[in-house]
């Protein structure tokens, strides 16, 4: 595949190359010396003899520019080097060690950073005298804080991520975590900061030299040339122009390159053009034309839309452009009709194109998407094709005729705007002008309708003061405010826990009965769709693979994909595949465990603001699969981390000799993105081999061995090194095969794998750490049903094969029933009411 470089990258390279060539030309090809004066050639304009002209002493400006620019660039480079090395060290240590050390260092750092560096450099030079060396030292020191700050905050963020926790669990040393695991992940930000630092240093140095406080004559410097040329601005502007321009050239080149590196602004062209281009490609691929497959739709006619229909989708195709320019079609020839008052569900796994279908109805597809086909929507003025509407016309349709409720109530409301205003917008921006009191009453009524009683308080609150369920109710109230004909629900309950979900579904059923709007319900959960809808469309890979009533789909599924969906809904029972003896010895026993967060109240050591686990006890026998279930906030993850020794406990005992390994919920976070799969799988072995070697070397040192024995021992250790690498490679490859990934995955990075593949690697990595107990913290919660099934099967197979004991943590009862032999329910403390969170935050 040909890699396409960005506009910024090409321009940046070109400018830098030009600068380098100019400098090199002046240094090696120019017949003049930088301080060679020619009384006969004063203030001559640019000519073939003197490319950039001559100055008031008759010196060749081009030669001087080249020498001056070289000096400036070298100073810039030195500064970045000094600042980069010390800044990275200081920042990394402050970030990693944390606590008081971090606080003190960062306080000093922030103070230094607040001051403009040229001012401090001036002071430094003022005290120690102007010279090139002092400029470098001053600018270098002043660059340390900005690098340190970036590195420190990045290190801190990385420390929070699961892959560092994972490395700690595997016993990786602190220094290795910092330099081998974390630093490669922050290389990009580091480079960009350094580029900015280089530019600042170049500008600061030339400024100081201009003021006469930087590079001293007779050495040529850009700043000096500018200040000398200033007196001859009228007669010889070129003595100022060219030195300045070369600075601009170099600085611009570096900043363009750093932009290209940090991925700022791709060169994708204007959104309208992208959309047109993709639409053309879609048409070329045969989508959006009147085709035979369209006849599948229920009303039998693709081109017309029945009078009773609210929405007719015809031959809809949605596509994106891949990085290499080829077309990726996510919705392929979708046809359906939604009649007034009807409820249709679209189900499918993530990536099946169901959300994209919903968004294209609203005209809310991302800028980078192209679309063909027709989406006919019934309005008061008759049928309108949404895809032909201008942005203005679309804005009129939205809210009034069709409204939408999104998946994430936490992020779908404006975080800084009071709820009242967000609701009022629905009225004011849709030309509904009411007197103020009536308006307020309407908003309050809308809230009451979604069963939110404290209307006054809610209207005044900002979203973070409400719970997830409350927010989703507000979203529904907003969507229903203007009584739209069509309500689109895009996974409205997926982000909510079971109880809240039931409440919201009940509410939706009720509202539909009351107002009779047509509903398009998008979900990946068949069970949820069953409650709301009569008719179901099953989507897979952009196609509608099956269409029918709820009963037909559930009782007599036809398409293989539907059957697969139904099967994963039930799930296989894996408990019989995992064997263990009930009289096996206890390998982990927990008694009176207390884990608290937050501040301590008073002197009592057990009185904390936030009691997560109180007086918890459990026992784990060898080979057992113990399930721990509880809703979010009940302390499941806290328990997992406490058992793994990652967070401290306030009281209680944990007795165990077992090695503990862990698999996290989100493999994207728990695996290091900067490394290859092979490297990740080798890492647990590498750590273990290191320990063995260290022990061997220590024994070499202390025992009173004879010379002969000593030599033998040394040879053994050398051989160990050699074998270690071979052993690592072999074991990693065996594990790769064991988790069901082909050899070709060894050199890939985590970013190139799917969610299920990532979790396989994570499981493999945990098992290579040779744990006795494996804590599985929601290992399949982030995965689709089908992939869930596969990963659970893998875990079930590994249980007997590697002699493991599982502690299986989840909020999902269905999954739990399929895996665990014994279950502990975590009640947790009382639920966090929104008021409480607010006070604590």
């Amino acid at each position: 595949m040909k890699r396409k470089h960005s506009f910024n990258f090409i321009c940046g390279c070109a400018l830098l190359l030009l600068t380098v060539l100019l400098i090199a030309g002046g240094l090696f090809l120019s017949p003049y010396k930088p301080d060679e004066m020619d009384a006969a050639a004063k203030n001559l304009g640019p000519s073939l003899k003197h490319l950039f002209g001559t100055d008031h002493y008759g010196r060749d400006v081009y030669t001087r520019v080249a020498h001056g620019a070289l000096t400036t660039m070298l100073i810039g480079a030195m500064t970045v080097l000094i600042g980069g090395i010390f800044g990275t060290l200081v920042g990394a240590l402050a970030g990693y060690i944390g606590g008081t050390f971090d606080a003190v260092i960062m306080r000093i750092n922030d103070c230094l950073l607040a001051f403009p560096s040229i001012l401090l450099a001036l002071v430094f030079v003022g005290v120690f005298g102007p010279s090139e060396k002092n400029v470098v030292i001053a600018l270098g020191i002043l660059f340390v804080p900005s690098i340190a700050r970036v590195v420190r905050s990045d290190v801190r963020t990385q420390l929070q991520s699961d892959y560092v926790v994972n490395a700690k669990l595997l016993g990786v040393s602190n220094a290795r975590i910092l330099f081998v695991h974390i630093l490669p992940n922050i290389r990009a930000t580091l480079l960009v900061t350094m580029a900015v630092g280089f530019n600042n240093a170049v500008l600061a140095e030339s400024g100081m030299s201009y003021l006469g406080l930087g590079v001293q004559p007779p050495k040529a410097s850009i700043g000096r040339m500018l200040s000398e040329g200033q007196s001859y601005l009228r007669s010889a502007p070129w003595t100022v122009l060219f030195p300045g321009l070369i600075l601009v050239l170099a600085v611009l080149g570096v900043s363009l390159l750093s932009d290209a590196y940090s991925g700022n602004q791709g060169d994708t062209g204007s959104p309208a053009r992208i959309r047109a281009r993709i639409s053309r490609k879609l048409a070329a691929a045969g989508y959006g034309t009147e085709c035979e497959s369209c006849a599948v739709s229920a009303d039998g006619d693709a081109s017309t839309c029945a009078d009773s229909a609210v929405l007719c989708v015809r031959n809809l195709a949605v596509g994106f452009e891949k990085a290499n320019g080829s077309l990726q079609t996510v919705v392929k020839d979708v046809n359906f009709t939604l009649h007034a008052g009807e409820r249709i569900g679209i189900v499918g796994e993530s990536g099946s194109g169901k959300s994209m279908t919903a968004l294209s109805v609203m005209g809310l597809l991302p800028d980078t998407a192209g679309v063909t086909g027709r989406i006919l929507l019934r309005t008061d003025e008759g049928l309108v094709d949404v895809l032909q509407c201008s942005k203005k016309e679309l804005a009129v349709l939205r809210g009034d005729v069709m409204a939408m409720v999104f998946q994430e109530p936490m992020t779908s409301l404006n975080p800084t705007m009071p709820i009242g205003r967000q609701m009022r917008e629905m009225l004011t921006h849709n030309e509904v002008h009411l007197p103020k009191e009536e308006q307020e009453k309407r908003l309050a009524d809308a809230l009451l309708e979604v069963e939110l009683t404290e209307t006054e308080r809610i209207l005044r609150s900002v979203p973070k003061e409400l719970s997830g369920g409350q927010r989703q109710r507000v979203m529904i109230a907003i969507a229903m405010l203007l009584r739209p004909r069509l309500l689109i629900l895009d996974e409205p309950t997926t982000a909510l826990d079971a109880e809240t979900r039931d409440g919201i579904l009940e509410l939706l059923e009720e509202l539909q009965k009351k107002h009779g709007m047509a509903v398009l319900f998008i979900s990946h959960e068949l069970a949820v769709v069953r409650r709301i809808c009569r008719r179901v469309l099953v989507m897979d890979d952009g196609h509608i693979v099956e269409e029918g009533t709820v009963r037909e789909i559930f009782e007599d599924p036809k398409a293989a994909e539907t059957k697969q969906l139904l099967r994963s809904l039930e799930g296989t029972d894996f408990t019989e595949r995992m064997h263990w003896a009930p009289d096996a010895p206890t390998i982990l026993s927990v008694k009176h465990l207390h884990v608290y967060y937050g501040k301590r109240r008073g002197r009592n050591p057990l009185n904390y603001e936030n009691k997560v686990l109180e007086n918890f006890a459990m026992e784990l026998r060898k080979g057992e699969v113990l399930g721990i279930i509880g809703r979010s906030g009940s302390g499941k993850s806290t328990l997992a981390r406490c058992l793994a020794g990652l967070i401290p406990r306030q009281a209680g005992t944990i007795e165990t000799d077992a090695r503990i390994g862990m698999v996290f919920q989100d493999p994207y976070g728990s695996l290091n993105r900067a490394k290859t799969v092979q490297w990740l799988l080798e890492e647990p072995l590498r750590v273990r081999q290191k320990k063995e070697r260290r022990a061997a070397i220590r024994s070499l040192r202390k025992n009173g061995l004879t010379g002969e024995q000593r030599r033998n021992r040394k040879n053994e250790i050398v051989a160990m090194y050699r074998e270690a690498a071979e052993e690592r490679r072999r074991e990693a490859q065996e594990m790769l095969a064991a988790v069901g990934l082909g050899k070709e995955y060894a050199e890939r990075r985590i970013t190139e794998l799917s969610g299920g593949q990532r979790q396989r690697v994570a499981i493999g990595m945990a098992i290579l750490g040779k744990p006795d107990i494996l804590i599985l913290d929601e290992p399949v919660s982030a995965l689709d049903a089908t992939v869930q099934e596969q990963v659970l099967a893998l875990l079930a197979d590994f249980h007997d094969r590697f002699n493991l004991t599982y502690l299986f943590i989840t909020h999902d009862e269905a999954v739990m029933r399929r895996m665990a032999l014994r279950v502990i329910y975590l009640k947790g403390r009382q639920d966090l009411s929104p008021d409480k969170t607010n006070k604590n935050g």
């Binding site: 403009p116 400024g207 201009y210 629905m426």
Partner: protein, 301 residues
């Protein structure tokens, strides 16, 4: 309570700053008695003068004495101009403040409309052309831009006469009219940075879920930008402008030199060359305090 804590933090920082400048300019540069009497003075005379000036006291006592003076507005005497430093400062400070104020105003006036425009039509021809111009402007050092402005607007188009600066006390109108040009030189690169920051802050907001919700409510694109994206992007922009303001103070040091503006920066550079440390110290302390105040004001919690 928040403000008290903030105020205390600033106060501590100011004290620390004053101590550092005191060390840098009163202790490091050497013996002021020697400077005053010259190298030919007898050791006895030097010793007597040191005793008289209090140079033999411990550093902390000398610092306390100096700090008391500073609180009364007494920064000592300029060795070069032979006049009190505070008087010297008052002559030039208003010029610098006018210049800084004008630059900040220009930055805001240039940056907000452009930033909003680019964010309204991301990826469009306007946006992409704007980005190229922006990048280039960011790469131009303010003092070089000043020279270009002097040549083009001053010498060729004769809009103003470079170097013919009128101080504020000689005619406020003429002073302001002249300051437009140095202010332009300071403002353009900084405005370009602000445009870029504002644009990317707005685009970050643009990809968030709540913006999609706002659109689904039937708001037009422009209203989504003004009522939803902008308010959420502002806190970050405010902090950024705080940084810009402190950089303007630094930028004006060199630009004042280019345009011959009789301001703080010019006095600072001259005093560094003259090794007139009492003046340098006062200016550094002053700028430091301004920077601290601006930053703690612009900081978002």
């Amino acid at each position: 309570m928040k403000w008290i804590r903030k105020g205390a933090a600033v106060l501590i920082a100011v004290l620390a700053l004053s101590f550092v400048t005191f060390l840098a300019f009163q202790v490091l540069p050497g013996d002021p008695a020697m400077l005053k009497l010259g190298t030919n003075a007898t050791p006895e005379a030097l010793e007597a003068l040191r005793e008289e000036m209090g140079l033999n006291d411990p550093i902390i006592v000398r610092y306390g004495r100096w700090l008391c003076g500073v609180f009364k507005g007494d920064f000592g005497e300029s060795l070069h101009y032979k006049m009190p430093v505070s008087e010297l400062l008052w002559q030039v400070l208003p010029n610098t403040l006018l210049l800084a104020g004008m630059s900040i105003l220009m930055i805001l006036v240039i940056a907000f409309p452009l930033g909003l425009l680019y964010a309204r039509f991301p990826g469009s021809a306007v946006d992409r052309t704007g980005a190229v111009v922006n990048q280039t402007m960011m790469a131009v050092p303010a003092f070089f831009l000043g020279l270009v402005i002097s040549v083009v607007l001053g010498l060729w188009l004769k809009v103003f006469l470079p170097g013919a600066f009128v101080s504020y006390d000689e005619g406020l109108g003429a002073c302001l009219a002249y300051l437009i040009f140095p202010a332009l030189a300071i403002a353009i690169p900084k405005a370009a940075m602000t445009v870029r920051f504002l644009r990317s802050a707005l685009l970050t907001e643009r990809s968030k879920d709540y913006v999609r919700t706002a659109r689904s409510k039937g708001l037009t694109e422009g209203k989504v930008l003004m009522f939803h994206m902008l308010p959420n992007a502002l806190p970050g922009v405010r902090t950024f402008i705080g940084v810009i303001v402190s950089e303007i103070i630094a930028g004006s040091i060199v630009v004042e030199q280019v345009f011959g503006v009789n301001g703080l920066g010019r006095l600072l550079v001259r005093s560094i060359s003259n090794r007139d440390y009492n003046v340098v110290q006062a200016i550094v302390l002053y700028i430091g305090i301004v920077v601290l105040l601006v930053n703690s004001g612009a900081e978002t919690e």
